[in-house]
Subunit: 577 residues, 2 copies
């Protein structure tokens, strides 16, 4: 393989960097300003949600943007800490560290490194399809339930109550039992921030437009609104010396250094499953954000390239002491709307956050946790798709069951167990559907060469010939079902001498199904019934030709169903004469 | 539900008992004699293989036959101890008991009771399809590898060496290292028995026919041949007082009593997984034997009825202190060939074994283990399908991989892990196949209304219209693949204004795929391309009608692909004008 091919295959920026121009530069810088303003409070807040010191959120907001810019394929993606990955990271690291803060941090970094490595391996193997095991109902249920868990957990910080529970009910019970310990100043700041953020989200753009703002000025002002809450609460705490309000505290100024967790082998191994889950959930979010944004500009993203980009972002985060990152939905949309043309916007955003880390952090000492909690609550409640359960209920009870199960288990047991349960349920439900396909006895529609279901259409049947259509590929989950069904059909009709399987809906026949077809053939033969196949698809016939059964069945395969009937009639009359 | 319906639904013998006649009685008695002669040595041998006292094999050969006769649906099935279930039972009980013989026995009985209960519950739920998760390559690999494990394990008994290892290699290594401890008398008896059984199997019928025997006399004489080896070895040991040869020893005469394992809750729970696995593997074997025999007489078996029959058989076995039983292949074929007409033959067989248990067991004290080991080795080597790996290799590499993986894990780790690994691999392989279906760009075959793959046929394309056929139902594993593929297609062709998805091979659209179709629709729209659907199947359109997307897509669904193209052309010209 030539080096240039390797680069264009594996380095996403090869697509745009050579064409980079001054116009893109201007757009990217403007987008970077908007996103930086948005990301600083988000980075701090999500780090606290992940159970980490606030500055770790800033660290995790820089290097990943650079790594993604180099390897990723989406033009407007903004990677960094997000709510759900922060919650998953906190849950996994918490279970691992059992209260040891140093170990907790090590585990958080290790999770990012493991996730990054897994994503890169999947990307190199072009195996992004594994993320497809996360079905839409499972992801939807998982995100909604996680958002509820996060919001309830942040309610404690908002009210100045220390309330940490393992499950939704536990956390709720702790909150209720400690409700009398509510800290009034904290609550006031928290509720005011919440109200402000909610009002801005709901009416902000309208009010700004009414004030005559539009375009970029509107966008920047709108995005800066959360900063107002932050500035006001810092001022309130500082001026009134509200020592009873819990704040971020002193954040170390300066750049993060290189970091590598000093864990032993077995500890790494125990973090693999949660690391993989966080990475895959993040990947699913990243890809769906990427698709949506790319389509708006008639661009495409390459999922396997996204694996490399997101993997590199997580490795970069971990190596510099950050934690798991994802391509976030809201920040990417903001980046896109603010006009970002290339991932260079991310590079500038990283620069902006770097400046903040170097010079602004001393100002954040008095930033109350309650304000950050309000930021998180507003962000995560926006993640919940309130219409999804109703939509699933009316569309498919099976999908609704997967959704409900995931929500219940996430809320009552935990995020990891919840998503794994949901995935296993979806797979079993799929296998159950495949294992009992729709089967129709077909007959000829008078005056045509078409054969249709005798239950839905008025059709002509040939005496002694049973025509069966199976609407599914033949795999091991339905192989024995096929044996049972066909034998039942042929014993239920007296005087049957031929059974024709119409194969137009069969896209695969695996070895189990081949074995079953052979057995059906033998068993039918033992009953004096001859098996015929019609309308076998090209690739399926190619594969059947590899089996030793083919020599026996080949003369009984007909191109069309009508030909198969003629063949059966001819054979029986020759046999009789 | 009326009582008579309940009976005919759940009691298999309701099908034949009311019609029982003298002719069937005669046939059944003769078959019972043949099977009894065959089952006595097998029962003793398999009990030893299961790590249990020899008489437990006889206990497990009586009550199950009665229970099956009452509930089962196959006419000629013979249930009892079989080789693979004995090995699985020994492995599970051994791991559970950790060397405690009393606990080992309790666990063996508990496994039968758990398996029986699980099968009955599955039968009542009509959920026999779960056994379909055991694909043909996995079962084939599992049985072959188990047979190798068993044969190697019995080689120790044959040579008078005590060689027990966890895995194939371990057992082999122990055998080799202890080869100098080989006991000559035992080896002589063992090898002579093995040779005799092999010669009988290979040439026996031919020789007997040459001697003028045929029909029933031939069958009885042939089946009695193993008894010759047993009688000869007992005589040899008794006459020469070969105390160095390990023998069955004193077997308690008389009937088994009721027995219930005195295990605590957690102990029962730890036996559930192996109990379920043994039951499911046994069920798969029972059903495939049942189908094969039923077809020869134009009868049918009812898989859910078989669950009840086999479940009752296992409960009956356990309640009387026996262990896990299965519908055995060889004994059922012998029963069938000997003319068994109804499960009443099984009742008579049970009577024959009862007589043996009461009166013959004192004669078996000097029966050498080596002779029984020879019986087992000949039986299990017959279970191996030596052609299967070659057949799978040429037919499907994916199925071959499932086979090979199962064999390797059974031999190197153990039977339970092996079968679970095989099942998980098959499911993932199926999902992988479903996740990347065959996709064809289709065009019109000149002079017809047919649309076929442009790569395989010479077809006409309409400029600006891309026609795509997906050869698979749309499920969550391929939902995102669909998004990627369709977006790639529509960005790769300049000047595209319509994309038509031909849905004739789509049997289901789940909620994830619906979401993807909606996104595809939106993303295509953002690119100025309109999505159309053609040839949507009735049930699929019914389901789409339940979605809120239907209002938007419904005007863009056409009955035939040609109509969809006309619709697209019409829409674009209206739009242009």
């Amino acid at each position: 393989m030539k080096l240039s091919n390797v680069i264009s295959d594996y380095v996403g920026c090869a697509q745009w960097l050579p064409h980079y121009n001054r116009q893109w530069l201007a757009s990217d810088i403007v987008a970077a300003v908007v996103v930086t303003i948005m990301l600083i409070p988000q980075g701090l807040a999500y780090a606290l949600l992940a159970g980490l010191p606030a500055q770790v959120g800033l660290y995790a907001s820089m290097a990943p943007l650079l790594a993604y810019a180099f390897f990723g394929s989406s033009r407007a993606m903004a990677v960094g800490p997000v709510a759900v990955a922060s919650l998953m990271s906190a849950a996994a690291a918490g279970q691992f560290a059992q209260g040891d803060a140093a170990l907790f941090y090590q585990a958080s970094v290790a999770l990012a490194l493991i996730g990054g490595a897994v994503l890169i391996v999947l990307g190199l193997l072009k195996a992004g399809f594994v993320a497809n095991l996360l079905s839409h109902p499972v992801v939807g249920g998982f995100v909604s339930a996680s958002a509820l868990l996060i919001a309830l957990g942040q309610l404690g910080a908002l009210l100045g109550i220390s309330a940490k529970g393992e499950t939704f009910l536990q956390t709720g019970a702790v909150l209720l039992s400690k409700f009398d310990q509510l800290e009034w100043h904290t609550t006031l700041i928290g509720v005011a921030s919440l109200l402000w953020l909610w009002l801005v989200r709901k009416w902000g753009k309208g009010v700004l437009k009414a004030l005559g703002l539009n375009g970029l000025a509107l966008e920047i002002t709108f995005r800066a609104a959360p900063v107002v809450a932050i500035v006001c609460s810092i001022v309130a705490v500082s001026v009134m010396s509200l020592t009873q309000v819990r704040t971020v505290g002193v954040i170390p100024t300066g750049l993060p250094g290189f970091f590598f967790p000093t864990l032993i082998g077995a500890q790494w191994v125990s973090l693999i499953v949660p690391g993989v889950l966080i990475a895959l959930v993040g990947f699913v979010e990243t890809v769906s954000v990427g698709h949506a944004l790319a389509a708006k500009r008639k661009q495409r993203i390459e999922p396997n390239q996204e694996l490399l980009g997101l993997g590199a972002a997580n490795l970069a985060s971990g190596v510099l002491g950050g934690y798991s990152v994802t391509g976030g939905f809201s920040r990417s949309v903001v980046n896109f709307d603010a006009g970002a043309q290339t991932p260079m916007a991310g590079v500038f955003t990283a620069g902006g956050i770097l400046l903040a880390t170097l010079f602004l952090t001393p100002l954040l000492t008095n930033l109350p946790h309650a304000t950050l909690a309000a930021t998180i609550i507003i962000a995560v409640l926006g993640l919940i798709d309130w219409h999804l359960p109703k939509m699933l209920w009316s569309y498919s009870k099976r999908d609704f069951a997967a959704y409900l199960l995931t929500v219940m288990v996430v809320l009552s047991v935990g995020v990891e167990v919840g998503i794994v349960t949901g995935v296993i349920f979806s797979i079993l439900a799929l296998l159950a559907a495949v294992s009992q396909p729709h089967l129709a006895i077909v007959g000829q529609v008078p005056g045509t060469e078409h054969f249709r279901n005798e239950k839905r259409h008025k059709v002509d049947m040939v005496p002694g010939v049973v025509s069966v259509r199976v609407d599914e590929s033949l795999y091991f989950p339905n192989a024995r079902w096929l044996e049972d069904s066909i034998l039942e059909l042929s014993t239920s009709k007296q005087g049957t001498y031929a059974l024709i399987l119409q194969c137009n809906a069969i896209n695969h026949i695996d070895a189990s199904a081949l074995e079953s077809l052979e057995k059906i053939d033998e068993n039918l033969h033992a009953m004096g019934v001859t098996l015929y196949l019609s309308e076998v698809k090209g690739p399926v016939q190619d594969q059947l030709a590899l089996s030793h059964w083919y020599a026996s069945i080949q003369p009984r395969i007909a191109l069309t169903h009508l030909e198969a009937i003629d063949l059966a009639k001819k054979n029986i009359s020759e046999h009789a004469s």
